[in-house]
Amino acid sequence: MAEPRGISRRAFTTRAMAFVGTIIGTVVGIPIIGYLVSPAVKASTTETWIPLGALSKYPVGTPTQSNFTLTQVNGWEKTVNSYSVYVLRGSNDSVEVLSNVCTHLGCRVTWHTKADEYICPCHDGRFSPTGKVISGPPPHPLTTYETKLDNGNLFIHVLES
């Protein structure tokens, strides 16, 4: 076979191999990058309204504990986490819901009726009934949840990432 113009059979094959090799490398390589970083990029956020029951069952003026669970999905793994919050019902349907997670290093605070304070067992952080810091190392007030009332039932807005 006569060589058509400048390119030899060998050079042609080399280039064709390089070309096909690049395509295969890209077709496999790029998906692999996406595959490996996937869980980081697809950080799943939970965003729900959790029902805490009828508002009327909570006493007015005393922080009252309420518990709920939330299922967190990590890949193929489902973890059920328990949460506690304090519901502080005010007069005429006003309500405040506080997280029991201490803003210092994350221990769980408990309401002490006698002291009229939330007390953190870890470093003796103390918070007022509405969650303001009274004493101790906590840098911020207790976190509050967004609330809504539906037919007399209390719901809180939970955002987890």
Binding site: V28, Y35, W76
Partner: protein, 220 residues
């Protein structure tokens, strides 16, 4: 720069040109497309290694997680379906190419002196490739996997005298269990791949050392 200085420097020490010449610039007789099947198998093997390593990033071989972790790969991980798909179909394709490669060697009489050992390593490669298929099939831990392996291991159990023993060794006990899954996984990602890689090394060394046989003539 790279071609003028760096390459000659490296070549002088590493003998890159010699390696290239020995492996890729060999003299070969005029052959046909059937002679590409060994290389096709090699390519598929590399592809299986790459996609298989990727699968182990998310797959967890235990009865409680195997199935769910694969569902996760298929439905949630970016391109997970593609990686698993390539591994799944690549496995089937590789068995086919090894087999046709062997048929071509057989029909052309390419196994004869001096290539007997190439054939022997080839037979082992075929067996281990089938072993990969057998152990890999269990890993999804779904109904099909479970019962196929139940049947497969009881076939081994039908060997006279030592059959029951073989079956127990394969299953890691009298029944299929998490123990079976773990040892199949180990065989699938460690034992067989290492054996196959070593044998491919010997196989290709022999192919290069002995050269490729030509297409037999009518008078052969």
């Amino acid at each position: 720069m790279i071609t003028n200085k760096v390459f000659p420097w490296l070549d002088e020490r590493l003998g890159l040109k010699t390696i290239y010449k020995t492996i890729l610039d060999r003299n070969v007789p005029k052959v046909n497309w059937w002679f590409t099947l060994g290389s096709a198998t090699l390519f598929l093997f590399v592809l299986q290694v790459v996609t298989g390593i990727m699968l182990t990033v998310y797959y967890v071989p235990s009865p409680s997680t195997a199935y769910d972790s694969i569902q996760y790969i298929m439905n949630d991980v970016t391109m997970g379906w593609l990686i698993r798909g390539i591994h799944h179909w690549g496995a089937t394709l590789m068995v086919i190419t090894v087999f046709i490669h062997m048929l071509r060697v057989f029909y052309y009489g390419a196994y004869k002196y001096p290539r007997e050992l190439t054939w022997v390593t080839g037979v082992l490669l075929l067996l281990f490739t089938l072993g990969m298929g057998f152990t890999g099939y269990l890993l999804p831990w779904d109904q099909k996997a479970y019962w196929a392996t139940t049947v497969g291991t009881s076939i081994a159990g039908s060997v006279p005298l030592i059959g029951d023993f073989i079956m127990r060794v394969l299953r890691g006990g009298s029944d299929l269990s998490g123990v079976t899954l773990a040892r199949f996984f180990s065989a699938h990602i460690w034992m067989f791949p290492i054996l196959i890689m070593g044998l491919i090394g010997v196989h290709l060394y022999l192919v290069i050392r002995l050269g490729i046989s030509s297409v037999p003539a009518k008078t052969d």
